[in-house]
């Protein structure tokens, strides 16, 4: 049954984005907000607004019971979770359904399976999707490690089976190195975790982060091509593109087909993203995880395909089949998105909440701004620093970068420091222009830069 009244259980720019698509589909919108967010843009744009608690997210945007009750009391028949907060919380999705409403996203079971790293890896293997080759289970000693390394191929990464957080990770290029490093890793794991078990995985050299956007209606799935998000700082994406310029047509086709196979295998419903590591020297890609929600960087996909991913999510959640066939989805040109955060890049990205002064937002052909700000808006300090996303589209990558550089000159948010100077420097950088980067590129690059604040 088509959605009539939608509860938006999120904030910031994604709430604005969801309100806009819902309105375009003729769906009535009820916007949730914390006490600190009563003035946010989505509240102003939505048909109705409901306060769901104090500023702290755990008492508002993360309080599943309170959100479900508020949505039900507001007479909503569906809940859109956005991204972050409860978007990938299977228990929340279950509570929404138990209250007789539609969760705009996949089933709780799919969220649970794909949210568990080991289960997601098993699902990928079952669908024939390549994963990073690794040892089967724990390795008892150096001989077992050497045998496993011969199967997965050097160089290998040795990890503590019981560990996490990158502790005790060592890289061995050869058997000799592995024999030397394995006992060290073992005793370190024993000391740190009381368990000397090791695990071994192939190293993906100069890895690039590539992800495939998929859409499913529970039985059929399509891909909307890929994005590249290799420019990251502290594992946060900074600059995102579609398509990934480093892929040839054949690799792109194989990669995207693998994503559709996995999505159909798990009966995926809604919008989702499969993340991969891509190794340019060998042209191989490896599935790492799936995000069962809309992503921050979805607009670059919309710019190159012409689709409205949020609208498609809402239609599918309302019980309709996918509105597009695979052959209708075509790549047109190149798109780039940069994240405009309230942070000072000249001062180690110190958060900069404040009052938004005069605003100048670029517009025109091939330029889009998905934001949450307006003149006089007081940015609350309680949530993340994302103020908006500047997205550009051009006939090719070079044209898109030029357009980004121009658009960044126009973008001005007075009263706060933002990451605009970082993006301007990236758009002018020869390596970025040449597409020569990987996931470990940005942090050393930043160390060699002086980013003047505006």
């Amino acid at each position: 049954m088509a959605i009539r009244r939608l509860f938006i259980a999120n904030r910031g720019e994604i709430a604005v984005r969801i309100v806009r698509s819902a309105k375009a589909l003729g769906i009535e919108t009820v916007q949730a907000h914390s006490e600190a967010d009563a003035d946010m843009l989505a509240v102003r744009l939505a048909d109705h607004a409901v306060c769901i608690g104090p500023p702290a997210a755990k008492q508002s945007y993360l309080d599943a019971d309170r959100i479900v009750a508020a949505a039900r009391d507001a007479g909503c028949d569906a809940v859109h979770p956005g991204y972050g907060f409860l978007a990938e919380n299977a228990d929340f999705a279950e509570k929404v359904e138990a209250a007789g409403m539609v969760f705009v996203g996949p089933s709780p079971d799919t969220i649970r399976t794909m949210g568990d790293k080991a289960a997601a890896r098993a699902a990928a293997i079952a669908a024939g999707v390549p994963v990073v080759p690794g040892s089967d289970g724990r390795l008892a000693n150096a001989d077992a490690a050497v045998a496993a390394a011969e199967k997965v191929g050097y160089p290998v990464m040795i990890k503590a089976a019981a560990g996490g957080g990158g502790r005790g990770i060592r890289i061995a290029e050869t058997e000799e190195e592995l024999r030397r490093l394995a006992p060290q890793a073992q005793s370190e794991a024993q000391a740190a975790f009381g368990d000397g078990g090791l695990y071994l995985e192939r190293v993906v050299r100069d890895a690039r982060h590539i992800e495939v956007q998929i859409l499913g209606d529970g039985s059929r799935a399509v891909h909307c091509f890929e994005r590249e998000c290799s420019l990251q700082r502290r594992r946060q994406k900074v600059w995102e593109e579609a398509p990934a310029a480093c892929l040839d047509a054949e690799t792109r086709a194989t990669l995207c087909a693998s994503a559709v196979a996995l999505a159909e295998n798990v009966g995926y419903r809604g919008a989702g993203t499969l993340e991969y590591l891509y190794e340019p020297t060998t042209g191989s890609f490896f599935f790492i995880e799936m995000n069962t929600r809309i992503q921050v960087e979805h607009p670059v996909t919309e710019m190159v395909t012409g689709l409205d991913l949020i609208a498609e999510m809402l239609r599918v959640a309302g019980g309709e089949p996918l509105s597009v066939r695979q052959e209708d989805i075509r790549l047109d040109g190149h798109a780039i998105e940069v994240r405009i955060n309230a942070e000072d890049p000249a001062n180690n990205f110190m958060p900069f909440p404040g009052l938004v002064g005069a605003l100048s937002i670029p517009e025109g052909e091939g330029v889009r701004f998905d934001g949450m700000i307006y003149e006089g808006y007081a940015i609350p300090p309680f949530y993340d620093s994302l103020l908006g996303k500047l997205i550009v589209h051009g006939p090719d990558r070079a044209a898109a970068i030029d357009r980004m550089a121009e658009a960044l000159k126009t973008l001005c948010i007075e009263g706060v420091k933002t990451t605009v100077p970082l993006h301007a420097a990236l758009a002018a950088d020869p390596a970025v222009k040449a597409g020569e980067f990987h996931t470990q590129f940005l942090e050393p690059w930043l160390a060699g830069q002086t980013l003047a604040a505006e």
Binding site: A342, P353, Y383
Partner: protein
């Protein structure tokens, strides 16, 4: 009497994590540079340090309380 103020708006925490004891209690001595709490601003944690030496007579802000920039967090007697 001197005030320790929040350098930024955010959420004030008196302990490094919920499982750990507070950095300082009322009545504790502080030296210049001692951490007396954290302010969480946009998911980053900033240390709040004493700028004068003395004794903390009172915490004005409670644990997990939202605070504005410049809000008094604690009072120190020199």
């Amino acid at each position: 009497m001197a005030d320790i103020r929040s350098p930024l708006p955010g959420t004030f925490y008196r302990a490094p994590s919920p499982e750990e004891p507070p950095f300082k209690n009322e009545g504790d001595a502080v030296a210049v540079g001692d951490v007396i709490g954290l302010v969480e601003v946009m998911k980053s944690f900033m240390e709040v340090k004493a700028e004068v030496a003395g004794k903390i007579t009172r915490f004005v802000a409670e644990n997990e309380q939202p605070v504005t920039a410049g809000a008094v967090l604690a009072e120190v007697e020199g």
